[in-house]
Symmetry: C5
Subunit: 355 residues, 5 copies
Amino acid sequence: MIHRRRPPGTAPGTLVVDPSAERTAVHVIAYGEADYVEAEIESPDELDPFLEGWPVVWVNVVGLADAGLLEELGRRFEIHRLALEDVFNVHQRAKVEPFDHQLFIVARMVHPGGRSETEQVSFFVGAGYVLTFQERPGDSFDLVRARIRSGRGRIRRSPTGYLAYALLDALIDAYFPVLEGYGERLEALESEVMARPEASIVQRMHAVKRELLVMRRAMWPHREAINQLFRDDSSFIDDETRLHLRDCYDHVIQLIDIIETYRELASGLLDAYLSSVSNRMNEIMKILTIFAAIFIPLTFIAGLYGMNFAYMPELQWKWAYPVVLTVMTGVSVVMLLFFRRLGWVGRWRRQERKD
Amino acid sequence: MIHRRRPPGTAPGTLVVDPSAERTAVHVIAYGEADYVEAEIESPDELDPFLEGWPVVWVNVVGLADAGLLEELGRRFEIHRLALEDVFNVHQRAKVEPFDHQLFIVARMVHPGGRSETEQVSFFVGAGYVLTFQERPGDSFDLVRARIRSGRGRIRRSPTGYLAYALLDALIDAYFPVLEGYGERLEALESEVMARPEASIVQRMHAVKRELLVMRRAMWPHREAINQLFRDDSSFIDDETRLHLRDCYDHVIQLIDIIETYRELASGLLDAYLSSVSNRMNEIMKILTIFAAIFIPLTFIAGLYGMNFAYMPELQWKWAYPVVLTVMTGVSVVMLLFFRRLGWVGRWRRQERKD
Amino acid sequence: MIHRRRPPGTAPGTLVVDPSAERTAVHVIAYGEADYVEAEIESPDELDPFLEGWPVVWVNVVGLADAGLLEELGRRFEIHRLALEDVFNVHQRAKVEPFDHQLFIVARMVHPGGRSETEQVSFFVGAGYVLTFQERPGDSFDLVRARIRSGRGRIRRSPTGYLAYALLDALIDAYFPVLEGYGERLEALESEVMARPEASIVQRMHAVKRELLVMRRAMWPHREAINQLFRDDSSFIDDETRLHLRDCYDHVIQLIDIIETYRELASGLLDAYLSSVSNRMNEIMKILTIFAAIFIPLTFIAGLYGMNFAYMPELQWKWAYPVVLTVMTGVSVVMLLFFRRLGWVGRWRRQERKD
Amino acid sequence: MIHRRRPPGTAPGTLVVDPSAERTAVHVIAYGEADYVEAEIESPDELDPFLEGWPVVWVNVVGLADAGLLEELGRRFEIHRLALEDVFNVHQRAKVEPFDHQLFIVARMVHPGGRSETEQVSFFVGAGYVLTFQERPGDSFDLVRARIRSGRGRIRRSPTGYLAYALLDALIDAYFPVLEGYGERLEALESEVMARPEASIVQRMHAVKRELLVMRRAMWPHREAINQLFRDDSSFIDDETRLHLRDCYDHVIQLIDIIETYRELASGLLDAYLSSVSNRMNEIMKILTIFAAIFIPLTFIAGLYGMNFAYMPELQWKWAYPVVLTVMTGVSVVMLLFFRRLGWVGRWRRQERKD
Amino acid sequence: MIHRRRPPGTAPGTLVVDPSAERTAVHVIAYGEADYVEAEIESPDELDPFLEGWPVVWVNVVGLADAGLLEELGRRFEIHRLALEDVFNVHQRAKVEPFDHQLFIVARMVHPGGRSETEQVSFFVGAGYVLTFQERPGDSFDLVRARIRSGRGRIRRSPTGYLAYALLDALIDAYFPVLEGYGERLEALESEVMARPEASIVQRMHAVKRELLVMRRAMWPHREAINQLFRDDSSFIDDETRLHLRDCYDHVIQLIDIIETYRELASGLLDAYLSSVSNRMNEIMKILTIFAAIFIPLTFIAGLYGMNFAYMPELQWKWAYPVVLTVMTGVSVVMLLFFRRLGWVGRWRRQERKD
């Protein structure tokens, strides 16, 4: 669950490339109120025409394998070494760090496929550009791209801060369907606990609890980060965007609320499961005890008259056999009445009917 | 428990109509100190005479299916797109959001029928009007309507803020009878746990806990919302209304207090239940052990003299049978004394008497 | 545990008389440094001579059945409708609400009889008077009355604020003996858990936990209320009284501390109980297993030679019987050694000796 | 755990002597940079020469039985009635109360003998004197006395505030060896839980938890008290003493930290114990089930051929007996293989080897 | 877990040498932008040339046995007695204490060998020097030394504050691989719980929980300490170093986050383990009950016809034996159907297949 960052003691700002990092690709969308343009670029130098010619440029870097290219980008956008190190070390918590000339934002993106692992997305918001780094191809931003292309909504008329908000908002909203999935798994588990749980349910309950723990660990820091963004007084966030961030903050609160509720539900489920296991054990023990307690005395009586003593007067008595059978029946009836009085027999029947 | 909001990534402010939304109807009550008037309207244009002619106008929109009509209303009352989106997305937590020209309030209404699901009610409080949106027909506001019609109390003499308070207060107070219902269910469960619980009690305890979780999740945010309303310095809340909001805040605190107490009671109940299941298991095991431990040695002795060896001198001895019977009685008595010393037999009897 | 307040939606300030409310009686004590006078009155008009002639007047209203009389009192002392409503709705949490001309205080009184239900006492402290409402005859104030009558202490020389403090202090201090009772019940339960608990102990432990929950719910809000009173800057609380309120606040903190400690003790007790039930179950199972595991093989051997096959050569062998008996003894010894090696037999003996 | 304070409702400031209070003795040490003097006194009047002639006077009152003498002391040092009442009522939480002319400090002293009960020590720090009250002879202050007598360290050169600090510091430090004792008890319990716990371990674990609860309840309020002392701006605490108080505060934090860690360890221990009890129960049940499941079918077969029917052809068959013996062996082997497949037999052996 | 500090009551500032303290060695590295020099010294006097000739001097003291040398160092660097006492008493929590002329920092170093005990490192940061004390040879600072020697990074160009940061950062980062080790142990435990846990797993789970508790206790105070360092306005921390401290603070938060997550995972694991133990117990009981309930009645029937009564007509009946066998088969089938109906037999098979 945690992974090696730069080896302890190396100079801060050292960039350590994860050997499993994906190939780097850089995608640029530049737009203004009237038009937009898209391109794949290979070197930071190709960025200049975009940055000079368009009000807002979104540079999206996918894959972190090419350390050289990333360092060049870092130089081009004057990124602090420590921030660049955080881009490479993809196990940051969500946070906002203001620098003089840009905002550095880290957020964690969830994947709809339901994998409980999250992916780090790093944002640099500066004058005229938003620079984003993500670990792998595939993200929650397609609809934002579509809005830029179509010119629908206010996005083409708004400054860079709004683009950063729009991306964050899309990233946060993508948690909702994933949590919905957990809600459905919890409901399925609940039905099973109440019916006839298989032994594997323990494993599945544990898995849900564990994944919710991961979700929670990912989501909580967003609360503080977006709150900080909301209160940030830099020029990158204007009043209208701030209003939208309040909305985004509401969504984070709602997500945290849902996660905590699900965690409590999962705990309650485990309690219910343990109670019902105890209950079932009780039923098993009752059946065993009823059988043992009725037949053991009868078997003893039978054994008694199976003894081969030469002098056992009863054995010769003509009515001995029917009398013994009657005694045995009597013992059984007494035992049954006793168990009925303890509420075992009657209750067991009632429950069976309920199934 | 959560439901799809606008698809992640779509432009903020997009209105997504829930396919199960109810047909929209708009009810208007306009009143002043002297008189009042009521009407059903079909288009926002019909509102103008009311808004111009009366000090306070309450526009109550029931059902959210007619997105067109709602958008028209939004334009008429200059509602922010994000607020209007929240009206449609009926899974908001209670909150207060001040806009320049109006207050936006979200609250969650409970239904007396005891369904644990809550319904979102959105309020817009502005100069001369209160605009409310609810999901379904049927609400907690009938007595407020009656007070407006009859002119009793201060409502007809008070500004829009007081109407908003009166509606919120009615909505909050409606939680009390619902919680009373939970109190009664908990008391019934408690009596059953202490007497002879059926296996289905686990299910019922779990259901109560789960529903209290929903109640709690609905109620907590009202605390912050009403507190914010209380401290709001806009012109919509005058001092007298603020005094009443303090009272309303007290009720929310009381409700939260009750919910938390019930949750603790429910937890304590589960503990008590598990203890008493363990206890009962102990009793069952004691009975089984007493039976087994007394009869198994006796049966063995009987089996011993049931062996068919040709040379078993005892078998021919005249007093063998009575001696064996005496030995068996002795073994039983010793075992019983042993169990009495362990406190099993005596205690079990005592408990039986207590039933 | 909660009871119907005014029906949801009725106008705030509506007075709803509980059908089980007690008959109203009004007792007046007026005093100054030199003298005091007492009277039972039937109408608020009779109060005027007291209020005009004495520095401090304590009007004590017992029983809330006579709504008319209470409303008259409310008018006489200019009590706000919402405060008067709170007097009738006797399920308030402790609180302090400052009004311009008087302080409104709600506190919850405990009864020494040990009933875990608490009674609401409402105080109105104004210029020259303290007006108190209690639900039933019988209270914790007798020694305060005695101090007024005897003129001991500072009470006769002090203003109304001190009287209010003295009453509150007496009310808070009355919790100590009640909690002492819980302490004794917990100690008794603890001794029993460690010795031989009866099955009914679960019920009694649950009862204590539940009642402590009620105590806690009653006591916590006093902390905030007395703190608020302490910081109140109205003219009703002078510096000397404030010093006494600090002392009273200390007592509330101490009571909360005791309640929380008792709650933890009760939880620890349940854990200890469950552990010792598990332990006992283990002992029972060991005894059963030892008996079954020793005798079942012996019985099988006996059964073997009880078979009636025509050709069983051993049956005719002269030493067969003694050999079989020896084998049986050997099996028993092996089993006992095995159980001793598992630590069952030795340990069980050791524990028995400990009893 | 709590004890009667002044009866509820009596005037605040009433001194109630605990019947079990110890005989009062008053010890005085007066010192300056150059010299010191010690005396036992019997009346407050004897204090005057000390207070007038020495820079710092420490009046140590041991035992609270002599209410008259204590009241005289109270008058001599102008102690507020409420503070004096707190001296007698020895169940206060640690606290600091500033009065105009003196500081009133309450702390709780632990005894090295390991009794979990703590003793109240009350300090009054004024111009030129420290007055302390303790319940019983014997305290943690002997090394402070030695430092005064020997003149080592800064104590003889420092004002009264430093003496108060030195006493408090000695009192706090005395908790360390007591907690060390709990650490050792917990480690011993841990070893036993992991080896072969006796049944009495439940009792001992409960006792440690309970005593840690008492320790915690005693220690927590010291944190707030010393913090308040640290921030106190009265003239009794000079800057150098404040630096030492920061050190003392650190020790309190460290003690709280240790107590909380021990509490968590104790909880974890109980969990481990319950898990291992469950485990052992499982082993017992497996042994029982293996024995029963192997021998019960064999015994049944033996019983079958012990029946006395006249027409049972097998009985006459020559090879019947060996065949039946073979069948029985086969059944046993099948059962053993079945249990080995379930992992019972193999696992049980492996665990046995581990012991 | 706690160790004796100076005996309670001795003068504050008394230095108590732990008898197990390691031999003292003093290592000096002095450096400037251009060059560096290293030396082992034996007396504080040898420090003067370094302190006078170089911008930054790092004096690293390893081993605390030589109290005389340490006191001399204390005098040379004007260390407060209380701070020096804290250096000797190696059980401090991490903290920062500002003195006029230097910063005193305590941190706790972890060892990669995975021992859960941590070692105290004390830092004194003053004008031109960083003085560190560690308990034993071996630390996390080797890469910092390498950076000083090689001149890589900014360290040689930065003031003393940056050196202090670099050491702290290396110390904090060394926790990551240790926690990674816990992550792996938890994952191994999880796999085992879900497969076939051995009894020793309880012990290992308890050990992990206990060690995480130690980790947590060590890490938490670093949060407050580094935060305080970050906000410290002394001249030792410049703006660039402050930016790096923010990064270091992030790492502490991340470590705390990981520790808390692991603690929750460990708790969840215990729950899962207990659930699966309960489950397995259920399975064992079912097998026992099935065997007992099927064979006990059959054995009884066999015993019945093994009785030796002279007059038992069935015994002579020719078809008696086959009829009895048929009845026995019938009883078995009925029992099996009954258990299948209860879901025992079918379910047990299904689970077996799943293995």
